[in-house]
Symmetry: C2
Subunit: 229 residues, 2 copies
């Protein structure tokens, strides 16, 4: 693995995990020192992250982790709903038997996590659940776009997303509706059920305090930086 690739993956992980927050600067020298490399591979990693939308780069002014406006964030959530809905629809049409069994198995495991109230495990399994659905649609490009969008939204999903036990139960029930539709091959219902699920996710997100949202920044103006290319 090349150094640039290593640095890119490390930065991606740190951004997605919340260890580096949107709006914060990415200093080339500092990163180079921190990874024991020269600035060259750091710069190449930053260029790639900028192209992916996770980072915003302005010539001669350095790179910062993308901090979309509330408007853009809303737009992204809305399209996330559409994309996830399409994934569910396609999955209902074309998931193989083995994939259906696998999805049900994960769903069943998640049921016991709900029972035991293990939020961390549920959140982790939830990622797998959705990813399996993307794959089940058998459309590599749709899977790519949806995953990319989920990644770009990841920093803005509050740290402990399934904070309330009630949300955990509700999430599992919503998944249940999606799965039932998929197993029946009802692609219309599958799409709608999934869209309803993601809309709920968005609403829960919006109802939570916003530690990093741009609208929360009271005094200072972190100079809105979009994630577009």
């Amino acid at each position: 693995m090349t150094r640039a690739e290593t640095i890119r993956l490390a930065l991606t992980d740190q951004i997605l995990s919340g260890r580096r927050l949107p709006g914060s600067a990415l200093d080339e020298n500092e990163l180079a020192r921190s990874y024991g490399a020269s600035r060259t591979p750091v710069r190449e990693a930053l260029r790639q992250l900028a192209a992916s939308g996770l980072v915003v780069h302005r010539p001669h002014r350095g790179a910062v982790i993308a901090l979309p406006s509330d408007q853009m964030l809303g737009d992204m959530f809305q399209i996330m709903t559409e994309l996830e809905g399409l994934c569910a629809e396609y999955a209902a049409r074309s998931m193989t038997l083995a994939q259906r069994d696998d999805l049900v198995a994960i769903h069943t495991q998640m049921a016991s996590m709900v029972s035991s109230g293990d939020r961390a495990a549920y959140a982790s399994a939830n990622e797998v659940f959705h990813t399996r659905l993307y794959e089940g649609g058998h459309n590599a490009y749709l899977a790519e776009l949806t995953l990319q969008t989920r990644q770009r939204l990841q920093p803005f999903r509050r740290a402990q997303f399934f904070s309330s036990l009630g949300r955990l139960v509700a999430s599992h029930q919503e998944h249940e509706a999606v799965i039932q539709a998929i197993l029946r091959g009802d692609h219309v219902k599958a799409r709608l059920a999934m869209m309803q699920h993601i809309v709920t996710v968005r609403d829960v997100y919006l109802s939570m305090p916003a530690p990093i949202s741009s609208s929360a920044a009271s005094g200072n103006k972190p100079e809105q930086v979009a994630g577009g290319r």
Copy 2:
């Protein structure tokens, strides 16, 4: 403007216009000489193009213009249909009066291009028509994804797309259906009419001889390279 940016834009233009073909290699030294720069900015431009999906980069093996498999190309066309459909739906919901007038004006201009059989002008105006529709949806992220997808498919749309006069007439009629639905605010019909239009575009595309499609490569195997991230 920085050199890396200049080179990136120049390469993008060459790829989209067909002056550089999918599967062809992008030699760093050659590009550097060609643009009178060093390899450093060339490399940064290539990294960004790779992240955008137009170019595929493999460590220690250089960059080549993305040549998706037929499977991937089909997936991309299918999602292009969905995305364009969503744009039309959103446009029907939220286009301003001025935007509607503007769209109608373009459509009217295109009618005279059909009459005079000016294919080049029609193709050019067609790009504007679709872009206006993306903007009319008032969702910046959807517009971004749709534009990105159109760009990635661009190299695979045959050079003279509106080769037959009949196709020109049909295209304009399909646009007419989309516009009528949008003006009536019928977002369901708008989406369906647009999806039908893009499906037709895809079918016309598939019915044409394939100068660069990977399936056309008879003897040599250009080592399928996906456009994924």
